[in-house]
Amino acid sequence: MLRPKQMTRAVIVGHKDILENTVDALHNGNLFQIEDFVEEDDSYLKIGKPFDNGSELSKQLVKIRSIASLLGVKDNTAEKQSTKAVCTQLDNCLDSLDAELDAHVEKKSMLENELKDVLSTKRDLSPFINIDLDLDLYRGYESLDVFTGHVKEDITPSLSKITSSFELFYDSHSGVIVLFVAREKAAEVTEMLPSFTFKELKVPQLSGVPSRLIADIEGKEAELLGKIDAIEQDIDALKQQYGDFILASNELLSIEVQKSDAPLRIATTESSFLIDGWLPTERYGELEQIVNKATSSRAFIYTQEISKSDVPKVPIEYNNPKVVSPLQEIMNLYGRPTYKEIDPSALIFITFPLLYGMILGDMGYALILATLSIVIKKVVSSDAIKSLMNILIYCQISAFLFGILYGEFLGFPLAGYHGTPGLIPGFETIDLIATPFAGEVIGYPLHRTHLIMTFIVATVFVGLIHINIGYLVGFINEKRKHGIFAAIFEKGSWFVVQLGIFLTVLGYLGMLPIILGAVIFIIGVAMLLKGEGIKGPIELPSILSNSLSYTRIIAVGLSSISIASTVNFIAFGMIWQPGSQIGAMTLFAIVVFIFGHSLNTILSIIAPGLHALRLQYVEFFGKFYEGGGRKYDPFGYIRKYTEEK
């Protein structure tokens, strides 16, 4: 906890004879992250060559993946198959499956092209459907010109003015005309037509009456669609039959290809190899054991010290208890910690749900959202979503506890407050302590709507505590990286500055000589200047703006209460009053109530979630966190569909 797992840099050296066995063992072990070897010009170490079967395996893998994508095979939870069975099946039926599928796909695409042609002819013909004229009659005249196209209205009156020798077919419904006119008048007609927004149509090179042609085409279209459907069913049958095999062989081949390509990441000489990489220190014994077993102890393994320049390269594996691990998702969003840094997952495990709960603080919403997250967690199989749901559940527990403290249920106050009744009859607010802010009185439950000033002050203090934890972690990080003096000047100075401000305020109130606070403040600023340079004093106002930023805890909370109580008021105050006659209005009120609260439930994830997250990321992490660590990604594969037997 609080630190990523300790890593060891290990080097494995051996004769090339045992390279394949070593790679096999490492891949099965899934614990060693190989550091890619970069070849230098004058080095006597060269990049290795892939194992012999590599290119054949890659070809098969490409084939399997193309089959998988053509069939649309999706990940599922199939039973694990033994690798031997998959291997035999792979040799026997990969080619035939490929050929069969190819034939189907080719035939399908041919039919689809045919269908496209048919549909385009149909589209060309369809304007002429209502004109009962053989298409052959549209062309081949010596003394006649033919105009075909769309117009916006009947052109007969205007046409009659130009000539009387014409033959016009007009479909008033679609505005299509077919006009035969003597050639000598054609020029005049051409001039006239644009005033009717004439748009020319091309006549398809077919013979026959359009309506009959279209009927034929439709018959053909249905036939083609039927054929395509049949092929799709065949393809689907293939998918049903071979789906599990494809998934298993894809996995098997991916593993084999990874292994056969491994030498490309390894340094070799004429007859030896050298594998450099990382693993968690606690698993070093395991590495020795599996490599020795696979090579009959012929490989030599040793550890290398992690030098300063190596530190940014160290892969990071979280080292958190299982309860904290969902919060690692939040860390990943920002960037993994670096090797020397404190891993704040365990800190935000407490602070994130705490701030979320403080903002939401409503038993009703907490229960709804907790139920929702549990259901989603059960239904969805994605790990990322599961972690997210776990975080939401943590947040709802905190929101429920704060709901008890605030005495709120779906925006209704549970306890009565000075005359106004609450949801539970007879439960009255108990006044405890008067605060100095606007005459507000702290009691139980805490009515946020009546304690605004108190809450604003309290949230700023919550912020100061949170920020100072940040500075403290920053102090530890800095001490680890650059020593105690750098830590004192860079991060410790902030404590001195705050102390200075605090004492100055006390001085202002007349409890201390004001000069004392001022001197400490100036000392703090001087330390900051030394530690961070000019950037330090420029950031001084951030103490104020950062801590004021925590007032969002009450501000966002109040806005959520306002929406909830408005919904309650509209439903059970304006539309229907409890106690009055039950009727259609009651139903309407319930609909409004459900709709309004569903909306606010969704807002209750987004608003408090994002604001609590932002307080972590900006105000808290800003004080100490660098991030940007590399993920520990060991050489290996987690099998889902196959198992070695």
Binding site: L333, Y334, S549, T551, I554, V556, R614, Y617, V618
Partner: protein, 77 residues
């Protein structure tokens, strides 16, 4: 004789208008500031999804403005 009708402005109304201005204007200001940052952050994320966290942080920084507006409005009412 002409008498001028004397109208009193209700201070509660002015307070409400002030509160509305505090929230409304700061909301606009935040939106205006977040507009460019958000667009740039999405652009960066399209290139590299790992930038989500940093993009989110940079995008929500100006949103403190509206929170301050909200606090001011709450204090006024």
């Amino acid at each position: 004789m002409v008498t001028e009708a004397v109208t009193m402005t209700d201070p509660a109304g002015l307070k409400a208008i002030g509160a509305a201005l505090a929230v409304g204007l700061t909301g606009l200001a935040s939106a205006y500031a977040e507009r460019d940052i958000g667009a740039a952050a999405i652009g960066a994320m399209a290139e590299n999804e790992g930038l989500f966290g940093k993009g989110l942080i940079l995008t929500v920084i100006p949103e403190t403005i509206v929170i301050f507006g909200l606090v001011v409005a709450i204090l006024m009412l």
